[in-house]
């Protein structure tokens, strides 16, 4: 096992890095999309219910099916991986962002408007900061989920730890390093997931106001 890792350490490092990067980009894109959509939704009555239903359905689309759906649309391998992962990552964040934005006390919003804040200022200085802890919780869920989905995506489309899992599974026996491949991939994903979660907790420490922690 040790030899296995030692022999392929740069390749493993590269794949782990690719995996982490894929998840990172996907979650960043998903966060931006989700927050923008949530802001729009919470301004239009009735849309929030629809959004929750759509997100419930979207999460049940199997990832392979999605990859297949997207193949004709996007031609480049890594890009399609990113799109697929981001697609799944959007929903938990969206749901939390809608809940978080709706959870802001209407009295506070009225008070903000009553002091002469423009809608944009209210959003930036009141609604988003107050909803942020909930949004961040959604980002954590999305990140964890994306770890697994990124594995599937990378098997289908490009670099990442996912390739190892399937290499391992197809090779089977110990002799052919099959088990090693699978174990390395799983441990790698778990470690990346733990580090990512730790970083997000840290981000929360730094960005959530002490007044609402």
């Amino acid at each position: 096992m040790w030899n296995f890792i030692h022999d392929r350490r740069s390749e493993i490092a590269f794949n782990t890095y690719q995996h982490a990067l894929l998840v990172f980009y996907a979650v960043v894109i998903a966060t931006i999309l989700a927050v923008v959509i949530a802001v729009v939704i919470t301004r239009i009555r009735g849309l929030d219910v629809a959004a929750n239903q759509v997100s419930a359905i979207a999460l049940t689309i199997p990832s392979f099916a999605l990859v297949g759906l997207l193949l004709p649309v996007v031609h480049l391998g890594p890009t399609i991986g990113l799109v697929a992962v981001a697609f799944y990552a959007v929903w938990p964040i969206l749901r939390n962002a809608v809940v978080g934005l709706q959870g802001v006390d209407p009295i506070l919003l009225e008070s903000a408007r009553g002091m002469g804040m423009s809608e944009a200022t209210v959003l930036w200085r009141v609604r988003l900061p107050l909803a942020w802890p909930v949004i961040l919780a959604g980002i954590r869920i999305s990140t964890q989920m994306s770890m697994g989905i990124a594995a599937i995506a990378s098997y289908a489309l490009g670099p990442g730890l996912g390739t190892y899992i399937f290499t391992g599974l197809s090779k089977g026996g110990v002799a052919a390093n099959g088990l090693n491949y699978t174990v390395v991939a799983i441990v790698g994903i778990v470690v990346v997931a733990l580090i990512a979660d730790g970083l997000l907790v840290l981000l929360g420490r730094l960005t959530v106001s002490k007044g609402i922690r």
Partner: protein, 399 residues
Amino acid sequence: MSDTTRPVEATQTQAEPPGASGPGEVSGAEIVLTDVVKRYAGQDAAAVGGLTLTIPAGEIVMFVGPSGCGKTTSLKMINRLIEPTSGTIEIAGKDIRTQSENQLRRQIGYVIQGGSLFPHMTVEKNIAIVPKLLGWDRSRIHDRVTELLDLVGLDPERYRNRHPRELSGGQQQRVGVARGLAADPPVVLMDEPFGAVDPITRQRLQDELLSIQRELHKTIVCVTHDIDEAIKLGDRIVILREGAEVAQYDTPEVVLSAPADDFVADFVGAGSSLKALSLARVEDIELRHPTTAKVGDAVAKVTEQARANGDTAVVVLDDRGRPVGWPWLRQLRGDRIVRPEGELIDVDIRSTLNDALDSMLSSSHGAAVVTGERDQYLGVVDFDAVTTHIRLLEEQRGE
């Protein structure tokens, strides 16, 4: 009797040209509502059915009335949180629709129940909101926050960096008031500002608001459903019935002594001479001046003097003229007068008779020591003086 918040003087203040100099300078602006109607969608009856009202500059006008009569709706139309269906509102002679909503609101303080502070911002940031929107620079905002926290009785250095959840309800409400005054707006709107605090804190906050207003002379429109609060704070009271119809608009004295109709009489309720106690202040009453002694005086001499004056107790003052105790003669021991143990409960000369009575009831003397600025000793107020005053008021009313 220089209390400028009392209506008699307030009317004179109003007659002064705006911008008159001196400590009584009016910084408020007149508000005129003309035939203002608000009809909510899907409702037959108008929430506000044609309100016409002039709110004089520099006065506190209280809106009172039963729940749902349209007080909040009327108030929020002044800062355009609610747009009237018809009618006009002018502030300082200018139609409020001539400027943008946000510009208008930055010139109108808005204080609501509980303070409604933003929990994610510190006290300083909360207070700084409007000054920031107006583009004040950092050091000016910093100084203003210090000034305002002082004004509402919170130690600036101790509280400026706290978050709202680290404050008591009363402190949050104080910050709410400071925030409403932050950019020195001529008009301040308040919607049940002291509704969320306990009665004792409420009384204190009301006193503070009065003393702030004595200094600032804003135009304050304040909604309450508590007639006692209206009587205590208002230079004038608007009593509204269903649909924000004005049942009576007058000074508290007139509303109490000459209610316009049964609705007002019912609303004001029984015991109006007791209510009048919260109109009169200790300064309206003649104080008694019992024997006083300084800490360190010879007991024998003090006792002799008190006996000569016919007093059975002496008020003890410290070296700066502040009362520290009120011992009976028989309690004086030793050669020299010492600082008595325990805290003396005194009342401010500007306290209402209601508050003074409270203090008297908790004193074995049936009277209360009165202090003025910086806690200087002024005299003593007792039950007799208060009852005499009530009788006087009753007689005046009878005429």
